[in-house]
Symmetry: C2
Subunit: 497 residues, 2 copies
């Protein structure tokens, strides 16, 4: 069969003795359907009947009967001296529609269109990544990490091979509870810690099981786009909880009672505002009075270098209305995919059950290895080093921006340890700036994508944490050139009224 | 402060200079709230004012003013010669309600109650695990696996550290597409393969983005409980697609048009029936005519030892109505948490986008390592060994059951490579059998849990794949004793009319 150019494997043919359908008929049906769908094309030679009969464990007459029928119907043809071949049919090719416009893809349900309509985070390979939220990967102790990983993977214990508890690995949950008490002022027990495959999974899970479609949720405006996507994906009607450098507009009369309230009190994303104590107490009182749950996204609460760290809102919560969301994607590395929630005691069991349905649990191997990493002190040591590193980098980055970009963009200190907000002096369109910067090798996030309601402020949310001195210089130089270009062109935004 | 038994760290106190609230007021509020929530108990001594002022970087008068107010309000007390202590208050303790009845937990939304109402798979530690779907872990080449893992983890490439494509690691998707073509007759390209954190996540995702609440889905009856949970979690109204050893009741007049149709055509869960070719063609025609999607759960299509393997339904699908769901949890090990979907081309981008919202993507480290494992031939070699091993084990297990359990239970050959169905000769209640077996050290799954609609058949779905000869003997011996006990007691079910 050397001239047969097809990669079709006749191994996948099968007959079912128990089915009651004659075997030659089954074989005929299978071959015919493969021809019709184009898997068996005109360049395919059929195996000799004796050979195929042997392969399938059927009588040769069965194969002959099937071939005869296919021959009769024109699907195959006998070529003298060369065997039996598939006929070149004008077969109907299933049309491939490529509908990139998700909102008009009616194979999706209405809910599916809603969930899939949120553009995923866009990052481009082989560029300097100035996106917010990316830790330094060069300084992560991968050698230690892989040593611990190997220790667990080489001879996994029975506990690592079967899921007994969908809330996560017991040792990791204990380690997280201990860590949160000391580092973030969160008083909880391991039973309340639920491990999931990243903070995004945590947000999605909360939106799904604490809210019904059409329920109201308050979303920070501006606010973290991933949270907005999760809430909208869950069917929320979002009301903007406006935030400025002065604080949260908790007394906005338009804020009708909500089921969920999403906040980033330790360092507002993207503005960097820290929630004041009286705002915290007011917010807790609102949640308690209205039976709402507060989602506290403590996305980088670990990195504070000025003054003392701000304790988590969850630490003040007597009424168990706060659900704390944390991630190891920023303290470790972003593709780790381990996040967690701290939930009220009454919700621990329902969350674990829901995870068994949604499949948002994280691989136990990674959970156990992270537990070791924390227990053996590597996590604290790494955090300590990163805090110093990022503090230095923030200082350098801001200094560089002052020196070289001040004409176009103001960058101020930020309590977040991984990114700073650059506000434009000129009315540039931040998407145009990002596109132009990308052409110069810098992948950067426009601030305006964090707005879901109001006229956006334009600027850049600059993640400096992962950049070494050289990359930082390259990035700022490229941004300078970008601004110079744009200042010469008419690409600026119209001034707002 | 040696007598201080509290673990409270005053490090977490913070004042916000920019907030406009006097600093002593902020400090007062923080300390007061910690007292009220019980984090600062009567066994806590406050730090001296000078020390705390220094810690917080505030003037000593600020701390004194805060302490004075707390003293005035009775939250703290000065003990001569011993410093300032928290007063033993009769503080209000937030009531901890423990509502294990999820259906009445009104902190959850209606949707949340629905999702969390499905009991998660129950397995008990330190028992012999006879649950279906568990591969042999003792024979998995963990040494090779951990070597490949370390290679990727020690010096992860940039691609492994940042997510560029939420559909998964490119190399793994290519490896899966290649593998499916050869092994399962599925003709697809890497773009159509979407990697997720296990088959359960795949089912959940399909239900969410291809269906709206209240839409009709056909669910096999009996059928795989995890799929039923995912469909119900997505809000489906389920119509039973009845299956027997004779086949699928596709002509049931009660089957109103559905949006989704869930089937296990290669080997029906739990009955073991294989879908005949004409049923396959009829099902595809129904889906095409009614614009429904078929979910083909090919949960252990790899393990066929009798005759040839049955090609996947997806391989016959010209109209792109089949979504194929596969998992590596059964070919590798169950806690790996890697599964995948093969979707029509028009759905690839929406699925990837949805995953960026739901967080159901799998860690890239594991994806890349699995790609290596497949590409370097370890996967095929492992499968080949396991096929032989499980074939031998099935033979041994059935032989043992015939010899020792025939009086109570009939076990027949099954095309599934990992479990067989045991049908009771006596009208035992299978939950009672499972409970009694557990008391004898055998963790086993009753068949009746796979029914969602009809009066269930009782029996056991026996996963023998993970048992060595000794465990197998122990399991059968314990089951024999269990049956003997139950046959003597009146715990049998009432005979059905």
């Amino acid at each position: 069969m050397s001239r047969d150019k097809s990669s079709f494997s006749f191994d996948i043919l099968a007959v079912d003795r128990a089915s009651g359908v004659p075997m030659h008929r089954q074989l005929y049906e299978a071959l015919r359907s493969y021809v019709l769908q184009g898997r068996l094309g005109a360049e395919t030679r059929l195996p000799p009947t004796r050979f195929l009969a042997q392969q399938l464990g059927v009588g040769r007459n069965t194969v002959i009967a099937a071939y005869d029928q296919l021959l009769a119907e024109g699907y195959i043809e006998a070529r003298p001296g060369s065997g039996t071949w598939i006929t070149a049919l004008n077969r109907p090719i299933a049309k491939i529609r490529v509908a990139n416009d998700v909102s008009r893809n009616f194979d999706l349900s209405a809910r599916g269109r809603r969930i899939a309509s949120h553009p995923p985070p866009q990052r481009t390979r082989d560029k300097i990544n100035l996106h917010p939220g990316f830790p330094d990967a060069a300084d992560f102790p991968f050698a230690t990490w892989s040593r611990l990983l190997t220790r667990n993977a080489r001879r996994p214990s029975a506990d690592l091979l079967t899921y007994y508890d969908f809330a996560g690995d017991r040792r990791l949950r204990e380690a997280i509870a201990d860590y949160l008490g000391v580092a973030r002022g969160v008083d909880c027990v391991a039973e309340q810690v639920i491990v999931v495959s990243g903070a995004q999974a945590a947000l999605d899970l909360i939106a799904r099981i604490l809210m019904d479609e059409g329920d109201i949720a308050w979303m920070e405006e501006p606010g973290y786009r991933g949270a907005r996507s999760a809430l909208l994906g869950g069917g929320a009607r979002l009301l903007p909880l406006r935030v400025s450098r002065q604080g949260w507009s908790l007394n906005d009369p338009d804020l009708r009672p909500a089921r969920l309230i999403y906040v980033t009190p330790s360092c507002q994303w993207p503005l960097g505002t820290i929630m004041r104590m009286e705002e915290r107490l007011q917010l807790l009182a609102i949640a308690e009075r209205r039976n709402a749950f507060i989602i506290e996204d403590d996305y980088d609460g670990e990195y504070r270098f000025r003054g003392r760290s701000v304790p988590a809102l969850r630490g003040l919560d007597r009424a168990e209305r706060v659900i704390y969301v944390g991630t190891f994607g920023k303290t470790m590395f972003s593709s780790l995919r381990l996040g967690f929630l701290v939930v009220p005691r009454t919700l621990a069991e329902p969350f674990a059950r829901a995870i068994s349905v949604t499949g948002q649990f994280a691989p136990l191997l990674l959970q156990a290895t992270l537990a070791d990493f924390i227990r053996e002190g590597y996590f604290a040591a790494h955090l300590k080093r990163m805090r110093r590193l990022y503090a230095r980098r923030q200082e350098q980055f801001i200094e560089l921006c002052h020196q070289r970009l001040a004409q176009w963009m103001t960058v101020t200190e930020n309590d977040s340890g991984m990114q700073v907000l650059g506000r434009f002096v000129f009315p540039f369109d931040d998407r145009a700036v990002a596109a132009a910067a990308l052409a110069r090798g810098i992948d950067v996030q426009p601030v305006s994508i964090n707005y879901g309601h109001d006229e956006p402020e334009h600027g850049l949310l600059l993640g400096y944490a992962g950049l070494n001195a050289e990359q930082m210089m390259q990035a700022v130089t490229a941004l300078r050139a970008t601004f110079q270009d744009l200042a010469r062109t008419p690409a600026r935004r119209e001034h707002r009224a």
